[in-house]
């Protein structure tokens, strides 16, 4: 069972994630929450604007979920992935990855796999805002074409 979306920060919600992953078939659940921290590259960060190619992001999330099920031999996998879009202030939530499975090892592996793959291949971009300096788009990783 899977849910994913790209949402405004006002709509990113742990309650929604918790309700989605509740299952009596699962003995373990895990929440990963990414938040905006106050420093990067020796600069004082005040917020991040996230840009997203929504259609490609959702497709990427679905591919990652399906690959995780195949690679990690998960039992009763449930995952909820939402990424924020637009301006997120310091301390705000940029991403929620909530997963549930039969056993605890599976949820750690599942959650880690999802976030690491998102970093590698999901078309989302960050523009960091600084105290007293111009905002900057952060360097990223070239998207590889699957042959």
């Amino acid at each position: 069972m899977f849910h994913c979306d790209v949402v405004d920060i006002k709509n990113i919600s742990l309650d929604k994630a918790q309700k989605f992953i509740e299952s009596h078939k699962c003995g373990a659940s895990l929440f990963f929450i990414g938040t905006v921290r106050n420093h990067n590259n020796e600069k004082e960060v005040t917020g991040i604007t996230y840009d997203s190619h929504d259609a490609m992001v959702k497709k990427s999330f679905e591919e990652i979920y399906n690959e995780a099920i195949k690679k990690l031999d998960l039992q009763h996998p449930v995952a909820f992935v939402e990424h924020a879009k637009g301006y997120v202030p310091l301390g705000g939530i940029s991403i929620i990855i909530a997963v549930a499975c039969k056993h605890r090892k599976q949820v750690y592996d599942f959650s880690r796999f999802i976030i690491e793959e998102i970093k590698k291949r999901t078309p989302i971009w960050k523009k960091e805002h600084y105290k007293g300096e111009d905002a900057e788009w952060l360097d990223g990783q070239k998207l590889e074409i699957k042959k």
Binding site: G34, Y50, D51, S52, H53, A55, M56, V57, K58, K59, H83, S94, I95, I115, I118, K119, R121, T122, P123, I124, W125, K126, W137, L138, D139, G140, Q141, K142, L143, I145, K146
Partner: protein
């Protein structure tokens, strides 16, 4: 023919709008879009090689599919430029 290039990430700095309209020859491919984008960067940011490198490293997509430089375009196609990514 007319091609709309939707801008994302750092490529948004190339225009005040969320896209750039290009006029290309018939039978053009994504490589021709990339070449025109490079010319736009050279005009807009003549002293900043970061933007040039960014366009050279960018992928392109049609809807939700990545397309290669050999992809053949049709009149009024809309494609997206996908600069190096970094979410999460």
């Amino acid at each position: 023919m007319k091609i709309k290039v939707e801008l994302f990430g750092v490529c948004r700095e190339l225009s005040d709008k969320d896209h750039i309209d290009l006029e290309l020859n018939e039978n053009s491919k994504i490589k021709d879009v990339r070449d025109q984008m490079i010319e736009i960067v050279k005009t807009k940011f003549p002293e900043n090689n970061n933007y040039l490198e960014m366009v050279e490293k960018s992928a392109f997509s049609s809807k939700d599919e990545i397309i290669e430089d050999t992809y053949k375009l049709k009149n009024n196609d809309a494609v997206s430029i996908i600069p190096p990514i970094g979410g999460g």
